[in-house]
């Protein structure tokens, strides 16, 4: 996990003993996605708006709003990940290796485009978080 003052990114990487094509299918076919991630109406088409649906819990409706941002068959897939007013981006990168495929997932928590998902908001989470870290830091 990497963290900087202005953006936060979660990275998970794994080597999987499976061909790139097969992993790409698991990442891009709705029924397969549902088996390992969540119910969805995903389509591998840039600009397609869709949602992931988890079981609702108190204070969370279980809905993640998304839009397909990048589709480079078998190698790169990126989509938005918006929930609870917080907009983030998930990007998958597949690279063939000798024994299979290297799978890299990057979840960028706070996009630099401030307040993109708040109509009329003067600032976004990123600024808010950095302000709050200053406040919290000042308390210690």
């Amino acid at each position: 996990m990497t963290t900087t003052a202005t953006s936060r990114t979660l990275v998970i990487e794994r080597e999987m003993p499976h061909p790139q094509e097969k992993i790409w299918r698991a990442l891009t076919e709705g029924k397969l996605i549902e088996e390992w991630l969540m119910k969805n109406d995903f389509q591998p088409v840039v600009g397609h708006r869709f949602s992931f649906r988890a079981t609702p819990v108190p204070n969370w409706n279980g809905v993640i709003e998304s839009e397909v941002l990048v589709v480079e068959p078998k190698s790169r897939l990126s989509y938005g990940w918006g929930t609870l007013g917080l907009e983030s981006v998930v990007t998958w990168t597949l690279t063939p290796t000798e024994g299979g495929t290297h799978v890299r997932m990057e979840h960028s928590g706070f996009p630099s485009e401030e307040g993109a998902n708040y109509k009329g908001a003067k600032y976004g989470w990123q600024k808010f978080i950095s302000n709050m870290e200053r406040v919290a830091g000042g308390l210690e």
Binding site: W36, V57, W60, L84, G109, M132
Partner: protein, 107 residues
């Protein structure tokens, strides 16, 4: 994600509420009147926002005469700062499930 973090996220998902909270965190304790003057919304609206923040334990209040004073509880933000840790656990679990699926796809 955990329910506590969800409460905090939900309370702060609204930009007006976030601005009120940020102001309290930055400038210290203030009355509802003072907050209303700076928020650009009506006093009943500010009071409603404060109630939501109070439920998420993001603010505390005390009464003094006819005025209610609010102050921020920045400690309540801790679950939000842990946001990535929650997602870290989430994605590791999903990676496991993805690998399970890939195994099954062979058959």
């Amino acid at each position: 994600m955990q329910a506590v973090a969800n409460n905090v996220f939900r309370a702060l998902a609204d930009p007006t509420r976030r601005a009120i909270f940020e102001r309290l965190a930055r400038d210290g304790e203030q009355t509802v009147h003072a907050l209303t003057d700076h928020s650009g919304v009506s006093q009943p609206a500010v009071s409603k926002h404060l109630t939501v923040l109070k439920r998420a334990k993001l603010v505390r209040h005390r009464r003094e005469g006819r005025e209610t004073h609010y102050r921020a509880q920045p400690d309540a933000l801790a679950p939000m700062v842990d946001w990535l840790q929650h997602y870290g656990a989430f994605w590791h679990d999903r990676f496991d499930r993805l690998e399970n699926l890939l195994e099954r796809m062979d058959k």
